[in-house]
């Protein structure tokens, strides 16, 4: 039975896909779609002599990713036009940062929301400027809204009324409830200008952010994509000074762990320990129908992600409130 490892192997050694039969290709494409990595896969396999049906599907995926790239860059540009006049530089995070900086991690990458980082002291001005330029609230629920404002590392998500694109405005990279508090001022201070008014985090901070995102900001959904980002960033920039920087942000353990998992999934690591094996079982929990598998592992990591985010009594209260509203739990797919 195929799982996420089929996709990982294809990304790592594209030539091996030439040995796939029709059923293998069908599984691979369904898994890649479900992990939102079909554009990445399409770029990796570009130039290989593939079955014509596969070739056609991957060509469409490449065209789609190119279009997604244009849309993401335009969204960054619009944010720049709104925030530059009020003196706030736009520090791009995640996917948009990768494509804007022309990084390998951005090739074919699917990009959803625009994520930016701004100084916490400017957050009210940024919010006002965005609201004045056509962005609107997404979360009508007062509990969710208050929760975001009090405890999260970002504003409640805003969506642009004409372009239907979401923006996440961060003021740091972990929720305020988490036990770890990264140095947000240092993230901004060391950011790199890639075009007038547009910046990305430094290479090491991008990696630290990817690790923070993987372990503390979610239930490992999207883990395959996240670890591919890590793998590509390490390949492109190396890891010089990374350990010290991660330690500075209080994320030494998480960053080292992310590197280890990325190497196990996409690199050369042959042997992994039991804990890493559990993580990878969760991260690759996907069958050839693109269907999420291993529900016990999923649920365990979902609870764990919240455990890292907030103290126990708060967690109990939060899960209780969400459960009564009928929302809590990992997505069923």
């Amino acid at each position: 039975m195929n799982d996420g490892w089929l996709l990982a192997r294809a990304l790592r050694l594209p030539g091996q896909t030439l040995a796939l039969d029709a059923a293998g290709w069908t599984d691979l494409l369904a898994i890649a779609r479900a992990e939102q990595m079909i554009g990445t896969l399409a770029h990796r396999l570009n130039g290989l002599k593939l079955p014509s049906a596969v070739q056609r599907i991957l060509e469409d995926a490449r065209a789609s990713a190119d279009q997604g790239r244009s849309v993401a860059l335009w969204e960054a540009e619009v944010a720049r036009r709104v925030l530059t006049p009020i003196g706030v530089p736009v520090v791009l995070l995640k996917g948009t940062a990768f494509v804007a900086a022309g990084l390998r991690a951005g090739q074919g990458r699917s990009i959803g929301d625009l994520d930016i980082l701004v100084p916490r002291d400017d957050i009210d001005r940024v919010e006002a400027a965005l609201l004045a330029s056509g962005w609107e609230w997404v979360k009508p629920d007062p509990y969710d809204d208050a929760y975001y404002r009090r405890w999260m590392h970002e504003l409640p998500p805003l969506i642009h009324r004409d372009r239907d694109r979401m923006i996440d405005v961060h003021h740091t990279i972990l929720p305020l409830t988490a036990r770890i508090t990264p140095d947000a001022a240092a993230l901004l201070a060391d950011s790199v200008e890639i075009a007038p008014g547009l910046r990305t985090l430094s290479a090491n901070d991008m990696l630290v952010h990817a690790a923070a995102h993987l372990f503390a900001d979610g239930d490992l959904a999207g883990g395959m994509r996240n670890l591919w980002d890590v793998h590509c960033l390490v390949e492109e920039y190396g890891t010089e000074g990374l350990a010290a920087r991660a330690a500075h942000h209080g994320l030494a353990k998480e960053t080292a762990h992310a590197l280890r998992l990325a190497a196990a999934l996409y690199g050369e690591v042959a042997r992994i320990g039991l804990v890493d094996w559990l993580y990878l079982r969760r991260i690759t929990a996907r069958d050839g129908w693109g269907w999420p598998t291993r529900p016990v592992a999923r649920q365990a990591f979902y609870v764990r992600s919240h455990w890292l985010r907030m103290p126990p009594t708060m967690l109990a209260r939060h899960l209780w409130t969400k459960w009564r509203k009928g929302g809590a739990g990992p997505s069923a797919g």
């Binding site: 029709a22 779609r33 479900a34 079955p51 049906a53």
Partner: protein, 290 residues
């Protein structure tokens, strides 16, 4: 998944998997004359599954999933599993298709030239396409017309024709009984019965056609017709396309090319006989001009 059926409709391959045998058996029966996906690799996957394991057996309800899904789709009773499969395939096209500009339109072909009919639900595009296909036109599809941005040609997507409510009786009187699927009564869209496209439509489904006329039919009015300007046709068709925005510039270029080169007419009609007569007359007049 336990039960699987794969099929190629027009240029698009599908794989449908289900927790139950019945919908897959119905698909296999109704799509018996269709080929399998190219190279055995489908473009899209559809999953029909039970919301909870026991719902496979107790009050079975079919959830629709796949490569591309809408977050809040309601389940259908197992008796409507065939409809769920069709909706699942249409959903993959609507949300995932990137090769062709999708127009929510029916299409029929004659002499290598395509007639597109588009309009709101209930305007009669499926009924008219089905009836025209029984009168010597080739059915290209009743749901989506596939506009190829590279060539400007329309590709066929002749899935089962989905007839609703009163249209069922109208077409039943014109087509042989063996071409119909089971009557699905009381679905969210009312009564539905599927018509299997004829063998000629399936045999020629890889053959594209040059778009020649765009009709915007409206049912329930006195017979009338008026020309539609390029700009109005453009706006109406952007509304009728599910992937116009995601195709970006390719979609814009394809659609402007289509409306500039293809005459468009709105026709009002009181009943299907009158509509067929109007369509044939318009087509004939157009032929004299070409």
């Amino acid at each position: 998944m336990k039960h699987v059926f794969s099929v190629k409709i027009g240029p698009v391959g599908f794989r449908v998997g289900a927790d139950w045998r019945a919908p897959i058996a119905q698909l296999a029966d109704l799509y018996a004359g269709y080929p399998r996906p190219d190279d055995g690799v489908p473009d899209f996957t559809v999953r029909l599954f039970a919301a909870r394991p026991w719902r496979r057996f107790v009050r079975p309800a079919v959830m629709i999933g796949g490569d591309f899904v809408l977050p809040e789709a309601a389940p259908l009773p197992l008796a409507q599993g065939l409809l769920a499969a069709e909706m699942g395939m249409n959903l993959q096209m609507a949300l995932g298709q990137r090769r062709y500009l999708l127009l929510h339109a029916s299409a029929v072909e004659r002499d290598g030239r395509a007639l597109l009919m588009t309009g709101v639900s209930g305007a009669g595009k499926s009924t008219l396409a089905a009836l025209l296909s029984l009168r010597g036109w080739r059915l290209m599809g009743d749901e989506f017309a596939l506009l190829d941005p590279a060539t400007g040609l329309i590709h066929a997507f002749p899935r089962l024709v989905s007839l609703k409510n009163t249209a069922i009786g109208v077409v039943e009187r014109a087509a042989p009984e063996r071409r119909f699927g089971p009557l699905l009564a009381g679905t969210p869209k009312g009564d539905i019965r599927h018509l299997v496209p004829d063998a000629a439509a399936v045999a020629a489904m890889q053959v594209p056609a040059r778009p020649t006329l765009i009709l915007f039919p409206s049912f329930g009015f006195d017979p009338a017709q008026r020309e539609i300007s390029h700009s109005e046709a453009f706006v109406r068709l952007t509304q009728a396309s599910t992937n116009y925005v995601s195709l970006g510039e390719r979609g814009f270029a394809a659609l402007t090319g289509l409306v500039k080169n293809t005459p468009a007419l709105a026709i009002d009609y009181p009943d299907t006989d009158s509509a067929i007569a109007q369509v044939e007359a318009v087509w004939e007049a157009l032929g004299e001009k070409l």
